[in-house]
Symmetry: C2
Subunit: 265 residues, 2 copies
């Protein structure tokens, strides 16, 4: 299933690139990166008119967890070997009407194998109706596989994307999941595919809905300040960012999630 | 000496405000903050035409160190009580020709008392000659009190203001010091005063030298990217920022050091 997952992530990346490219006159840029021991990946980036900064990163890595990680990671207690493949996407639109959109899914293999991932939105202007719609649709996707998982995944997302020092959430949440075990591995994979398909469709719908709407300087300023919070979250709290930078990961790939511009008053 | 130190920091703040105000049509804004147990401070902020974002924070706090801190802090082993007063200044000029300028000095009192602090510059364009001049002058100030301290303080600054994940320094360094013990406490104080006077004078000299020089869009972009590095340093590495945010300090005062705008490509 590792290869199948990787192939799906690449397929999803290609479809995302194709869709986003249809809005933009600028081209995506590809950048390969590799680590002598751990593996490597491919970043696909765009600086466009609609998506001011967007990045899609597929990475496939393997190695051995250290003792501390062995304790934490499912199925790694007796054997520290792991391999992982995943796709991570961050889209920072130019328009303050369109939220920043974040998505990732991954497949992990130790003595056990499982999927994890999530998606969430960070709007900066009023987004109440769109938020309700977003969560309603996420619930439908979750309910198809497990009638109880939506609330859990939503809470996990809310708990994770929270700026303690500001006492405020990063955005309007979404879902955040790990150790996906539905009825069968095939169904787990199907769930992850549905999450990916939904991200693609929903992101494009939001772009379509708002892309022609103009904005004021004041709305732009609100967006830049909100992006400052995004930066604060990623550098102060995000586990992937901190872990990646501390363990000598690829800085450019790790910081792909940073917004293009941010502002502190 | 605690009260004398505090009075000096306030005097220095007033002179800094007066000098910077002379360049600007916008006024400084004052904001008091206080913590029910720990103490409080006064932030003095400006968003001006020359200093796009500048903040001066004077804080005076007291309390008891936790056990972990007790081990680390001079004179706190047998008694965790401490009090501290300090001034911290960050100036982010609008012009990419003028470096971001950072300065702080503090007086700490446990069972021992001592001064600490530092100052450093973060230019974004060629600054070779100005860097030499800056370090030459810092050396003269240090040499007056201890012929050997400059190299040590300079190295301390270089080691501290380094972005490991980028393998690059934040700026062109300066001095960084703690546990200042020259011949007498009065001389320690005089050293700290001289560092403060020099920051005031040197910052104004740099502003005067470059304030009328125009810049290109490309130079501005270089500045915004450099400011992104400044943000990364402050949120990923700066001990004061991390300690302050983790221990529930005043977020606005702690993040006063953030640049007004930053950019990630």
């Amino acid at each position: 299933m590792f290869e199948d997952a990787k192939t799906w992530f690449e397929h999803l990346r290609d479809r995302l690139v194709e869709k986003i490219q249809s809005y933009e006159s600028q081209a995506f840029v590809e950048k390969k990166w590799s680590h002598h021991e751990k593996g490597g990946g491919l970043m696909t980036k765009i600086n466009g008119n609609i998506i001011e900064k967007g990045g899609i990163n597929i990475s496939t890595v393997s190695g051995k967890f250290n003792e501390k990680m062995q304790e934490k990671i499912l199925g790694a207690k007796d054997d520290p070997s792991f391999s992982a493949t995943g796709i991570s996407v961050v889209l920072h639109p130019r328009s303050p009407h369109i939220p920043s959109m974040h998505f990732n899914t991954r497949f992990l293999s130790t003595t056990k194998t499982w999927f994890g991932g999530g998606m969430d939105l960070t709007p900066c202007l009023n987004f109440e109706n769109e938020t309700k719609d977003f969560h309603k649709k996420l619930k439908i996707i979750c309910d198809e596989f497990d009638i109880n998982c939506y609330e859990k995944y939503k809470k996990w997302c809310d708990d994770y994307f929270f700026l303690k020092h500001r006492n405020e959430p990063r955005g309007v949440g979404g879902i955040f999941f790990d150790h996906v075990f539905t009825s069968t591995p095939e169904n787990d994979f199907e769930f992850v595919k549905n999450v990916g398909r939904f991200f693609l469709e929903h992101s494009c719908n939001l772009i379509d809905k708002f892309k022609d709407e103009t904005w004021t300087d004041h709305q732009k300023e609100i967006q830049l300040i909100k992006r400052g919070r995004y930066v604060e979250f990623n550098l102060l709290y995000d586990r992937g960012t901190k872990f990646g930078l501390e363990t000598g990961g690829n800085t450019e790939a790790i910081l792909m999630s940073m917004p293009p511009q941010a502002y502190w008053k």
